[in-house]
Structure formats: C-alpha cells, structure tokens
C-alpha cells in the first residue's frame, strides 16, 4: 500500500504526514507540486503549511499547480484525497470540497490543542475512529469554516460534515466565540467531505498526533481510516465514487 503526500513550496506538515503513514505501516510516497504524476498511489494527502506563501488567499495559487491536475483526475476517478489544514484550504479553493475558510474570527493565529469529534463513523475518513473526542493540534490563521445557511443545511442533511470542534464532554462548540471553537467556524465544523465522500478536508492536524511520544497517537484514527479505505478501494478495482447530490463548492 502506497499513499502519496504532496509537497508545495511552503508545505511544512508534509514530513509529519509521511511519518504518520510510515508509523501506520504503509509506504509513504513524496509527490512534487510541479508534476501531475501521482506515481500510482492509492490515496493522497495534501498537507499543512503555507503553500505559495498563502498569497491572495490561502490555497488559491496552489490550486493551479500541475500536481492539482493529477489530484483532480484522481478524485474524479474515485481516489481518496485528504486535505489537512492548508491542504483543506487548497481543496476548498479548488472546489473539491464545499465551503470556504475565512480569517479566524479572533484575527489571531490559532496554535494549540483542541478537541474534535467525528460526526459519523461510516465515512472513509472516520471508519477506524472510536467516536470519542480526539485531542489534536490546530495551527492556522484562516480556519473559520463558512458556507451560507442553505449550503450548511444541505451538508448536514447529506452527512458531509465529518468533524466538529467539541468541548471535553463531546458537545459541539457551536458558539463561534467560545474557546473550544478555535476559529469561529459555523456550526463548529472542523472537517467536511465532497458529496461523493472520497475527498475530505479538516483544519486540525491528526498526523501530528501519530505516536505516544507526541502526547497521544489519537490522530492515527484518521490516518488509519484513510489507509483502510484506500486498501478497500484498491481491492474493489478502484470503483468511481458516485456523487449523492450536486452540493459542491461555490466554484
């Protein structure tokens, strides 16, 4: 099993992601932003960082890099793509997941530990999770999840909300000004997926909680979910994921 991690100029969590994959026992494959060749991997991670300096808006310039051509084709063919932090911003700008990430409501860079909880345990990115709150770091200035009310309702109805910021007791941090919600995200949304379910983005960094020496290896629940789903996708002969609805990004 080989899973790819894209390095953009300015990526900084690519190494953490490669390490988390190695810890999970699969072969990590480095992918370079200048080539659309995904080297036959079975899944792709777009890592955290500040791709192309986050100029104009975080993620928008990365959206036009050659590798994203390959990622778009891979996603359209049913391949699993996980965007973490800056990777989520890239996917949102590329229209591969719905919504947008605004400047944090506090205007401060949020760099600390938060609690998130999967909304559902039957998605390709949460299937190995135990359903309890996970303690994971956030490190971003633009992580305030936004979509208009109609789109938010539709995302919830379709089960496209994958993670929410929660209090320690697991209740969602719905008030955008409370500290458990680190960026003011609407409806406490920390992660979403596309309507077909094979492309997901989340702001927190599960790959940075990959080993007990880092405090906890709780983040591996997300990494292992991705790997199991990719394995299943390969075993099934790479089926194309069917979109359930038309709700996608604004682009």
């Amino acid at each position: 099993m080989r899973i790819g991690v894209v390095t953009f100029p300015g990526s900084n969590s690519d190494v953490d992601s490669l390490n988390a994959l190695a810890v999970a026992g699969v072969e990590p494959v480095s992918l370079w932003h200048e080539s659309p060749d995904l080297k036959g991997v079975s899944g792709v991670i777009l890592p955290g960082g500040f791709a192309y300096g986050d100029y104009i808006r975080a993620g928008v310039i990365a959206r036009f890099s050659p590798v994203m051509g390959g990622v778009k084709e891979f996603a359209a063919a049913g391949g699993l793509v996980l965007g973490i932090c800056n990777g989520f911003q890239v996917l949102a700008e590329a229209g591969l997941v719905p919504g947008a990430l605004l400047r944090n409501r506090s205007l401060r860079f949020a760099g600390r530990l938060v609690n998130i909880k999967p909304d559902r345990l039957d998605s390709p990115f949460t299937r190995s999770a135990n359903g309890a709150p996970m303690r994971v770091p956030v490190a971003h200035g633009e992580g305030c999840y936004y979509a208009d009310e109609a789109m938010l309702d539709e995302l919830e109805a379709n089960g496209q909300v994958l993670f929410r910021y929660v209090h320690e007791d697991g209740t969602p941090a719905l008030d955008p000004d409370e500290p458990a919600n680190p960026n003011g995200s609407l409806r406490a949304i920390a992660g979403v997926c596309n309507s077909a379910g094979n492309v997901a983005g989340l702001m927190p960094h599960p790959e940075r909680m990959s080993e007990a020496i880092l405090g906890t290896d709780g983040g591996m629940q997300v990494v292992r979910s991705l790997i199991e789903s990719a394995r299943e996708w390969e075993a099934a002969g790479r089926p194309v994921a069917a979109p359930k609805t038309k709700v996608e990004a604004g682009r």
């Binding site: 104009i56 808006r57 928008v60 310039i61 036009f64 700008e93 919504g99 947008a100 605004l102 400047r103 944090n104 409501r105 506090s106 205007l107 305030c144 936004y146 979509a147 003011g184 990004a249 604004g250 682009r251």
Partner: protein, 86 residues
C-alpha cells in the same frame, strides 16, 4: 494590439464576517473618531492586459477576478478601467 490597465477591487460579501473591518472599527475610538461605521477591508489588484479590444481585455480580467483574485463564495469584485494620466 493595445494595452488596457485595470483595477480589480475585491471585498467580502455583505453578511460575511470581516474580522479585519471589525478590528479597524474597534480601533476608531483610539483615534477619537465616532462617526465612522460599517468598515469593510478587501484587496485591490492593478494589471495591464494586451489585447485587440477593450471587451477582449475585460473578459480576461473578469476571468482572473473570478478564478484567482476573488472567491465568489465569500467575496464580490468590481473591475474598473484605469485611464492613463496625461
């Protein structure tokens, strides 16, 4: 072929939280300014397009404004043709 110079002004859509605008508003009392409100902060890009005609040049700018300079989900933009100063 002629050169056409444009400005693209991008602002957060109304109803979208603009924390920069809010921060500026909160700073106004320190400047003893009390009659300013509804501050919105955006960005402006100026660029030159070489094209056969103004409509052709404007179409290029419109495309860039939609795809790159703004995100239509959260931002609105206007395009203005800049007239060279004599």
């Amino acid at each position: 072929m002629s050169d056409f110079r444009y400005a693209v002004n991008v602002l957060p859509k109304s109803g979208i939280l603009d924390p920069q605008g809010r921060a500026v508003e909160l700073s106004l009392p320190h400047l003893h300014v009390t009659n300013v409100s509804k501050v919105r902060i955006g960005r402006r890009a100026e660029l030159t397009v070489t094209a056969e005609s103004e409509p052709e040049a404007r179409a290029v700018v419109d495309g860039l404004a939609k795809e790159l300079l703004s995100n239509p989900l959260i931002e609105a933009y206007t395009v203005e043709l800049l007239v060279p100063q004599p």
